[in-house]
Symmetry: C2
Subunit: 235 residues, 2 copies
């Protein structure tokens, strides 16, 4: 049997059609029996692919009517999934001002969360992200040096850390745990972000993991309140 299951093939095919716009929001898909015969599989297999797309809010099923491409929900894709900074902001005009990029021995708190041994080095990235030229957030990322040494000096592909990890080293982040709070801006952050010292910022601490549960990235971010987070909660 092919190493990749049929329902994942179908999932990927439909996903790319949706992302490319070949299937636009509101469009009706072929019926389940029709898809089954198109892909040469049984209906249950098609349903496995559709179930997954529906759970990601990319499809809406209406009994007796059909299966439709969902209207993009600002709320869902913005925060219930792990994405790039631009994806989370829902904007594309993101530029980056890198304040520091290099390898250092991390403080104990970082070392613990990344599971590093004493004196083991880590890559530290300190960046200011700007949306349409306006400073929006300060991001500090720590990664094990052994994972990707070149990260300490090479430029990121397309300015995206996660994209670079995947394309350059095949490191695929699987999930992340976040803590969200609020803090008063320090003098340095205030200067970078163009706000008053002591003014409120959204503070996020994030640990990202790969498939087997190994922590790969510890990130702190400080975001101006004009760039809030969005989330959709299910019952």
């Amino acid at each position: 049997m092919s190493p990749v299951p049929m329902y994942e093939v179908i999932y990927g095919d439909l996903l790319s059609q949706i992302k490319s716009g070949a299937l636009a929001p509101g469009d009706r898909l072929s019926s389940e029996p029709a898809l089954a015969s198109q892909y040469g599989v049984s209906r249950m297999t098609v349903r496995q692919a559709l179930d997954q797309l529906e759970s990601e809010h990319l499809l809406v099923r209406r009994r007796g009517s059909g299966t439709y491409v969902a209207e993009p929900s600002a709320t869902y894709r913005r925060m219930n999934r792990l994405g790039s900074f631009g994806e989370e902001m829902g904007v594309s005009e993101v530029t980056t001002d890198t304040k520091f990029q290099g390898s250092v021995v991390p403080p104990d708190e970082v070392r613990g969360k990344l599971g590093l041994k004493p004196r083991q080095k880590a890559v530290r990235l300190l960046r200011v992200r700007l949306v349409s030229g306006t400073p929006a957030a300060v991001q500090e990322s720590w990664l094990p040096y052994s994972l990707a040494p070149q990260l300490a000096r090479e430029e990121l592909i397309g300015g995206s850390l996660y994209g670079t990890l995947l394309e350059r080293w095949g490191v695929k982040l699987k999930w992340a745990e976040q803590t969200i709070s609020a803090v008063a801006a320090t003098g340095e952050h205030a200067g970078w972000l163009g706000v008053e010292q002591g003014s409120p910022l959204i503070s996020i601490t994030r640990v990202a993991f790969v498939d087997d549960g190994t922590p790969i990235e510890l990130a702190h971010s400080w975001t101006r309140p004009e760039f809030p987070l969005f989330a959709r909660l299910e019952t």
Copy 2:
């Protein structure tokens, strides 16, 4: 056929066994074929129930080994789901100081988000929530007066708004959309929460919906940073 599908019956049965502790974290469930014969259904039907429990992180499946009750993940249940204040805080010692409870004509911003007509009244609840006696958050809730008039004067069942809506009026919230940011504490909020005026607070605006998409509650909350939010993000 029974009005409720078999896989939901099985789902509910396993869920209650997990919640009651009859199935404890780490326990192995019967195998899928065994469950199928126990419930008198086919294996695919059992799998539908298990799929749902797995997607809620209540079960972990290990190929070749078995299906196990998951270790409760602090992170997941705390914020990716819509729950009571206590559930979200992950604590049980929550008390409430009600500052206002009554019906008023809401400001336009509230009226719009709840889809009310001009001059239509709304119930307003203003509460300070305390965790182990420490003020943690100010919560302001707005609901259509027509939905639950008694809410304007009667006490909440167990101090829970969502619980009261469900038990008293059968109103079941289905999902909510949140915006999370940071603000400086106003004088009034600072006083209630025991913090300095101008100090940073987590600010959340939430609109909760019932099944058919009707907005039922608009809530604002202001939370001390010592009580952060937790979230788990999937890829």
